[in-house]
Amino acid sequence: MYECLPVPFGLVRFGVAPDHPDVKNCQDKFEQVASSPRFNFIGNIAIGKDLPLANLRPHYNAITFAYGATKDRKLGISSEDRLKGIYSARDFVGWYNGLPEHQALAPDLELGEEAVIIGQGNVALDVARTLLSHVDGLRKTDMTDQALNTLSKSRVKRVRVIGRRGPMQASFTIKEVRELLNLPSVSFEPIDPALFPPNATKLPRTPKRLTQLLVKGSSTPALQARKSWSLDFFLSPTSFNASNATPCTLSSLTFLRNEVKGPDIFASSATVSPTTSEILYPTSLAFRSIGYKSEAIEGMKDLGIDFDERRGIIPNDLHGRITSLSEDGTGIPGLYCSGWVKRGPAGVIANTMEDAFDTAESIAKDWENKEPFMAGTNGWDALQEDAATKNLRPVSWDNWKRIDVAEKKRGKAKGKEREKFTSIPDMLAVLD
């Protein structure tokens, strides 16, 4: 298993919210897998950058791409990248989780009391919860000290989580909504009952329970609340507006109201179209949270892979066998994919797990059926020399365990589960 960082676990370490430690328990399972003598972790080597993909090919029977979605989708609105105060939710989550590439983000949470989050998935709700939670409740988690310090100075009091469609189409899941509604001293602005189907009790179980929860709302009265939040529906952003006084700083967002179309406006697949009615929300802080996006690894073309830029996935037969677009969907021997780069960036750990089983089953079946594979068998043994001549510093599983111990030790001193190293040199320094 090649990993570009010196540490394993990807999104479980850098994406799952610090206040969801139970979700991270799947790391125990990963530890079990890693303890197999047939498993080899090679960290701190970025395939496609440090080692060309083409160099791997002669040395393995099969390669599975399971590198997820490393970018986020953009709104495509002018000044989205220019104004101070606009952040990608993905970068923000990476920042508070200690992902080295986002440590310089320095989000300014002291500009004003309002925050707007564009998007209504679970990442959007994670960001909202982080902004609304009392920082002392997060101090025992593995959120970085830097992030805790920034959050402790936050002036944000009011968070709007804004969606293009309605509550029956939102992609957040009920657990994340319930957590927000249960936050102490945080109130929730009631949702217009007209946005829910009139006979909610007849809905299927999952939308019914979510509807009931959203209608019930929070038990904290607005007057007693320290902070508040709302879910705002049927709005699409059209511009980020700069402040007159400081032209490089966000001061408001303009949205167009959408209207819902279709025979069943409450169906999860219902679509919307913009009206001409505008609404302006003053805010100095906005987060873009409309989904993640996978990208191709350099050199994939040389292996015959036509990355599907539009869908952001590697073309495959739905069971992880990579297919070539140009040759009528024939499989490419020995190449597989799994997870978000196979299915697209949606779903919880259960989905990704099932997906991994599905790809593993494909590989095992192909092997049993004597389908063609690649010819190499020496794997890392053959590539080590290559890595050495390039002055790469591979990190083994035992090396990671030493980093793990060091992080836990740093955390213990502060009453935290762990204090992560937030730069690659700091991680590697443990091994010197």
Binding site: D22, C26, S171, K175, A350, N351, D358
Partner: protein
């Protein structure tokens, strides 16, 4: 994790049957208080418990075979129901294995392990919907 459950005392054994994805039945005699996830894992059945039995995922989903038995159980709490909402092949008698503890009332319980292998549809690739 494997095989560390305390064996039941003589005359206090409770029967539980797991029906796996292939339809094969596995019967065990267990002690009061054992939960279905721990039982399945200690017997090396194919049941995941990705979050370690902390009700934070839906990978230990089981389907209770009879409505009567389902009714005898303590009602699932909000946290369990929230996770079940994300489970594949959710039924009226679905539970999370980690939350069901064996008791005298549940002696003879039969649960099915849902088939994990779901045929992926083209809609799984749209990226918009969370299942």
């Amino acid at each position: 994790m494997h095989g560390h459950l305390t064996p039941p005392k003589p005359d206090e054994e409770l029967n539980v049957t797991f029906i796996d994805k292939e339809g094969e039945e596995h019967n065990f005699q267990v002690a009061q208080g054992d939960n279905l996830l721990d039982i399945a894992q200690s017997e090396e059945l194919e049941m995941e418990g990705a979050c370690g039995g902390s009700c934070a995922c839906s990978t230990c989903h089981v389907i209770v075979e009879s409505d009567d038995m389902f009714e005898k159980m303590d009602e699932p709490d909000d946290d369990e129901n929230d996770m079940l909402d994300l489970a594949f092949g959710l039924t009226e008698t679905s539970r999370l294995g980690c939350q069901v503890k064996m008791s005298k009332a549940l002696d003879g319980l039969r649960v099915k392990l849902p088939s994990m292998t779901r045929n992926l549809q083209a809609s799984d690739f749209s990226g918009a919907k969370k299942s």
